[in-house]
């Protein structure tokens, strides 16, 4: 019985050793090239948000959370700028708020003056459908409804330009 104490070390060491075989920054995205999973949510302002209604538009689908500091705070103004500059070229920005409280999320939206559609994902269903592993993550959906690329981490204007221009 007492020898279980030292032996309990082994599984922990095995787990850490397993870590050598993985790269924490390498996130596979098998969804690229596949049709984007449909979803229908209700935005914070009460309006419905569904992917089906956006067919024919280029969709920037951003997963975020108010507790995701600093990355989500860094990219919020970028997203708002994207929405303002690209709206008339057929681009729609949709924010999906994960694992958050409505109050904190709305404070976040007000703080950055976000005017694009932002919806909570109460059961985390959409996040699971898209295989989101953490926030922020952004999917770029083409006019035909397929996911063209994915970006992990905070967006910058340069990233937006590089990912978005080919889809216009």
């Amino acid at each position: 019985m007492r020898w279980l104490v030292p032996l309990s070390v082994l599984p922990v060491v095995a787990l850490l050793a397993y870590g050598f075989r993985t790269n924490p920054r390498d996130i596979p995205s098998p969804l690229v090239g596949r049709p984007a999973a449909p979803f229908a949510l209700t935005a914070f302002d009460g309006k419905p948000v569904s992917l089906a209604a956006l067919r024919g538009k280029v969709v920037v689908l951003n997963f975020w959370a108010s507790w995701c500091n600093p990355a989500c705070y860094d990219e919020a103004p970028v997203l708002q700028r994207t929405w303002q500059t690209y709206a008339d070229r057929g681009v729609v920005v949709v924010g999906v708020d994960m694992q958050d409280t409505a109050e904190a999320a709305q404070t976040f939206i007000r703080r950055f003056g976000l005017t694009f559609a932002n919806a909570p994902d109460p059961q985390g269903k959409v996040a699971v459908e898209y295989g989101v592993y953490g926030v922020p993550e952004t999917f770029f959906v083409a006019r035909d409804g397929t996911i063209r690329s994915k970006h992990v981490g905070a967006l910058t204007d340069a990233v937006i330009r590089a990912k978005l221009e080919p889809l216009l």
Partner: protein, 655 residues
Amino acid sequence: MTPEIGAGALIVALGLAIYGCAAAAVGGRTGRVALVESAQHAALGVFTLVTACLLLLAWSFLSFDFSVRYVANNTNLGTPFYYRLTAVWGALEGSIVLWAWMISVYTLIVVLRHRRNARELYPWVLSVMLGVLAFFLLVMTLPAPVFQRLAPVPADGRGLNPLLEDSGMITHPIALYLGFTGFTVPFAFAIAALVTGRVGDAWITTTRGWTITAWYFLSLGLLIGGWWSYHVLGWGGYWAWDPVENAAFMPWLTGTAFLHSVMIQERRRMLRLWNLALVIMTFALTLFGTFLTRSGVIASVHAFTQGSIGVFFLSFLAAVLLLALGLLAWRWDALGAQGELDSVVSRESAFLLNNVLLVAAAFTVFFGTVFPLLSEAVRGVKVSVGAPFFNQVNVPLFLGLIFLMGVGPLIAWRRASLDNLKRNFLWPVALGIAAAAVFRLVGIRSSLAVLALALAVFVTATIAVDLVRATRARLRTGERLPGALGGLLLRHNRRYGGFAVHLGILVVAVGVTGSQAWSVQTERTLRRGESTELGGYHVRFDGLAASEESNHFKVTGTFTVTKGNATAAVLQPAKKFYPQEQSPIAYVDYRLGLTEDVYLVLGDFARDGSQATVRLQVNRLVSWIWIGGAILTLGTALALVPERRKAPVPVLVPV
């Protein structure tokens, strides 16, 4: 030639450390004093050689010796001399040198202090210290050779990571490493106790000062790390539950638990097994921290490079744990308790609960840190564990700990009577409740903040009750107030040092509560001359200026901050463009205050200076975190004042 001398010295030091480790162990086993003395000489030799290596490395940096790969990677001709010195430990290889040097210093102090007063334990302590040292020297020789040559020799180096060009980087690693390495000494004593079977209380008494010192430096390292994060990283916070912050926090939690549980062993002969296990865990967690930062297993902002070094650290960690816990299992029968718990309402149980909470906190932090790995191994799914998890689980634990901080020191040993409880806690509890009501009335909405602040008032009141009562007792004997107070503090320095440390922690807790509950921030794009308002401050953008610094290009914004009609400050946040970095580094500017800090980060800007985006934060009570650190320092110093024993009765009988 310098690098070859350095590399050679390291190999000799490695040989000496291995020899000393073995010699001390054999000497301890056979009782041959000559072997132990020989191991002492080896320890002195190792110290001298590692010191020489550190100096040679510093010299390589000062003289821009770019033929050394490590120097070329971490400095360039524009690096000012003080940052060339801190660059010595600015990256992986050099940080190991500093680490090893500190253990060698500690080993030397152990030799000087304990070779006479802990004779049975001493050879094994020396053996363990030299064994740990040998491991780090092995790392410096094989996977992380600091003196490796670079050919062809570049004309200029790559330069230090700009984020490390900060005064915090002089003190933060030093304090943190002094804390990490400091726990090697109590660990060595614990192992010596287990090997020799002298698992009584001697090792605890001997290591008390060491544990407090290591704990203090670890605390200081954490606080300075928070300060660095706050004023350099520019996200306005001081703690992010990053895996590497967690790595330093876990040994702090178990170390804190150990500091408290030893008092029960000293007093009641209980918890022997538990104390040994805590010391082993604390030391193992310091190794785990180094493993985490240097193996690249878990993604983190602090991660050093990857490479074979992770395998070395993991193997050593496994060996240490198996050996130490194996010894523990071997001595299992001798570790039973002699005293037992008399009542649930007693100081023992308050301390026990404190230990349970601290270890629970350490476990949840550990779990949250390795969970991404676990999830990937078991389910093949990548997940990330964010601050909400850590906050949700730990905040209640920490509130409980603060409450116990008030209860533990005053409640009676063994069994607290109703009278004892009333005498000690009536006023503090009443004050705490009254404070909670007042906080509500003045409009604090967050229940968590009200609870945290009321608990702080309660604990402060318990300390005040104790101090007032003890001072009064001395006044009754005819002493004057300053003399009575001073005598009290010095006479019972352990107790009042502990109280002062508690006060420091409370002040830190108030700072954390305030900054979490009341800080506000906004981000605005301003045209020149335009202003914005936040928390009563008006911030006006006055223009941009560009300048060429010794090793980077800098764009500085000027902002005038006014409150009411008076100018509060002119702040100049900047963006620094380093040739070796792809993205610019933000340079934060701020005005610190007792109740609130104004904190500005420059974002994007128009090249002609006509407009700029700025993040403005008004952070509340953050300064109290640093003030708490200062109080903690004073308290530790008081606790470490050598005890003035009653004059020993001279032994006249010839031995």
